[in-house]
């Protein structure tokens, strides 16, 4: 039998389509989680009340914020899941090496981020319709431009993909040693409480605002891309040394 050769990119492509089929259930859980978020958003994602004398005002705000939040959670969990042993082993049943395995994972996570973001933002529209029909109230909207919709989807994709890179990295750490399952939450909450008790603003809050308070779009994009690259590269180099027990 004569030997054939293959390059990395072809392998990644084949694996990517393979993973779309293999992980289709991730998308059904996406739907479930977004529907749940819609349910919780029903009373408004924020509300303000005011009253005085014989007059009171109650305002309920509606947006896709809660759905986006739940979608971030889903993305995080999905990213961790595909680093676990069973999922890594699936690749080795067929043609792979560790680099192609991770690259196709990243492509899959990107796809998941895109699908999750688009559905999340569109779910915001669904929320408005449901609120209109079921709460029987007129909905007032401030800005519904196409440009803002597109920008909203793009920025959300960045956020969701960012979260997947964190999840993938953490999942990889856990694969090195189960100790990380305890270590990471301990570190996370530990720094939070420690800094808070010293009346210092917690380190993690600073990290959080570093991204969420960035009001210049191009800077935000650069920050996210660099961070994502760091996390994924670290994860890939760790996974590259790992044996596959099968």
């Amino acid at each position: 039998m004569s030997l054939t050769s293959i390059n990395l990119w072809e392998t990644v492509k084949k694996q990517y389509f393979f993973k779309l089929k293999a992980n289709i259930d991730a998308f059904s859980s996406l739907i479930g989680i977004q529907l749940l978020a819609l349910l919780f958003s029903f009373g408004g994602v924020g509300s303000v009340g005011m009253g005085g004398g014989n007059f009171s005002i109650n305002i309920k705000y509606y947006s896709a914020d809660l759905v986006i939040g739940f979608t971030l959670l889903w993305a995080f969990v999905t990213a961790i899941t595909i680093t676990t042993k069973p999922y890594r082993n699936h690749d080795f049943t067929f043609v792979t090496n560790r680099l192609s395995s991770s690259l196709s994972n990243i492509l899959f996570l990107l796809t998941a981020s895109i699908v999750g973001s688009i559905t999340a933002i569109l779910a915001g529209n669904l929320l408005k319709i449901l609120a209109h029909i079921l709460l029987d109230g007129q909905i007032y909207s401030i800005n519904t431009g196409i440009q803002e919709l597109v920008m909203g989807v793009c920025v959300t994709i960045f956020y969701v993909f960012f979260v997947t890179s964190i999840g993938y990295f953490i999942g990889t750490l856990v694969q090195i040693s189960k100790l990380f399952i305890i270590l990471i939450p301990v570190l996370f909450f530990g720094t939070l409480f420690l800094d808070a008790s010293m009346q210092k603003e917690p380190f993690l809050v600073n990290v959080f605002t570093f991204y969420t308070m960035e009001s210049a779009l191009s800077l935000f994009i650069i920050k996210v891309i660099v961070t994502v690259a760091v996390f994924f590269t670290a994860a890939i180099s760790i996974l590259n040394r790992m044996e596959v027990r099968r």
């Binding site: 039998m1 004569s2 030997l3 054939t4 050769s5 293959i6 390059n7 990395l8 392998t11 084949k14 389509f17 393979f18 089929k21 293999a22 992980n23 289709i24 259930d25 069973p86 999922y87 082993n89 699936h90 080795f92 049943t93 067929f94 043609v95 792979t96 090496n97 560790r98 680099l99 192609s100 590259n240 044996e243 596959v244 027990r245 099968r246």
Partner: protein, 300 residues
């Protein structure tokens, strides 16, 4: 061409040495049987060859390249065992399609026909199959992929006798039509004797020997007769196995380096000469215990 070449291959886990300076090579387009007791390192060796595990020291070359993390080796080889994992979300028929996408030599027709022959349901899922059905399905993937290096590690686990027979027959037929390098690790050497061309015997992580099946069949000789005569004949030789019958009869297995003349003399004295089946021989050669199981039940 040497498809596999191992030089002083060593693998240690924590402090246990599983493979100890193992050196051998496997030529192209041969069926080699990998034989040895449980836990002797067969699976470890095969996983290193397949690129799943790294060697601790020494050198492994598959298709003249190091197999670990190697795309070309992965493309041209396949590792079939009962732990072969498939995504639970993909139905069986689609798994065949997926395999066809990955392996360039995949024979869709053969896979489909085998699939139907063994009565698989295209819509069922891999994780719901019984043990025997799992092994059968994995075997189909291994055969239809027609990889230049096909490794079967205990492929018949859970299969009933009829299916095992079918498997060996299918393997042989396809191998003859489309030759490739096959490594078959199995406990049922007696069943696959007719299939194998070479045998590689592993004991204590080291290579015991590697020889063709025909050589193996002639390698040892069984002598049965009176204790005195047999012990006389085997004086100075290593007795690989002995068993007592009645009061004064013994059956002993030794390496066959007797001349025809000596053998005839033995026959005249009443010693029965028999050939030793490769599977039995391998058992004797790899036994770790002194004596047999009967000694456990004998009172001291």
């Amino acid at each position: 061409m040497r498809v596999i070449e191992c030089t002083d291959l060593t693998k240690t886990y924590l402090r246990k040495i599983v493979l100890d300076k193992l050196s051998f090579s496997i030529e192209e387009n041969k069926i080699t049987g990998l034989i040895g007791r449980n836990g002797v390192g067969k699976t470890t060796l095969l996983k290193i060859i397949a690129g799943f595990i790294k060697e601790t020291s020494g050198q492994v070359k598959v298709f003249s390249e190091r197999p670990y993390n190697n795309l070309n080796v992965s493309l041209n080889s396949i590792f079939v065992d009962d732990q072969m994992s498939f995504p639970p979300a993909i139905p069986l028929s689609e798994i065949l399609t997926v395999a066809g996408n990955f392996y360039p030599n995949w024979d869709r027709e053969l896979a489909k026909r085998l699939f139907d022959y063994f009565s698989f349901d295209p819509k069922s899922y891999h994780n719901r199959l019984s043990k025997g059905k799992t092994s059968t399905f994995n075997m189909i993937i291994g055969l239809a992929s027609r990889c230049p290096l096909t490794i079967f590690d205990e492929p018949t686990t859970g299969m009933d006798a009829a299916v095992r027979k079918d498997f060996y027959r299918a393997l042989l037929k396809d191998y003859i039509a489309y030759p490739r390098t096959i490594i078959l690790s199995s406990h049922h050497l007696d069943e696959i004797e007719d299939l194998l061309e070479d045998v590689l015997l592993i004991k204590d992580g080291k290579k015991q020997f590697q020889m063709s099946i025909s050589e193996l069949k002639e390698w040892a000789i069984g002598l049965k007769g009176t204790t005195e005569e047999v012990l006389n004949l085997t004086d100075g030789k290593e007795i690989l196995f002995k068993e007592y019958f009645g009061v004064n009869t013994i059956y002993a297995v030794v390496k066959n380096d007797f001349s025809e003349f000596l053998l005839n003399k033995a026959r005249l004295v009443g010693v029965e000469i028999s050939s030793v089946q490769p599977s039995d021989l391998c058992v004797y050669l790899t036994s770790e215990t002194k004596g047999g199981i009967d000694d456990v039940f004998n009172k001291h």
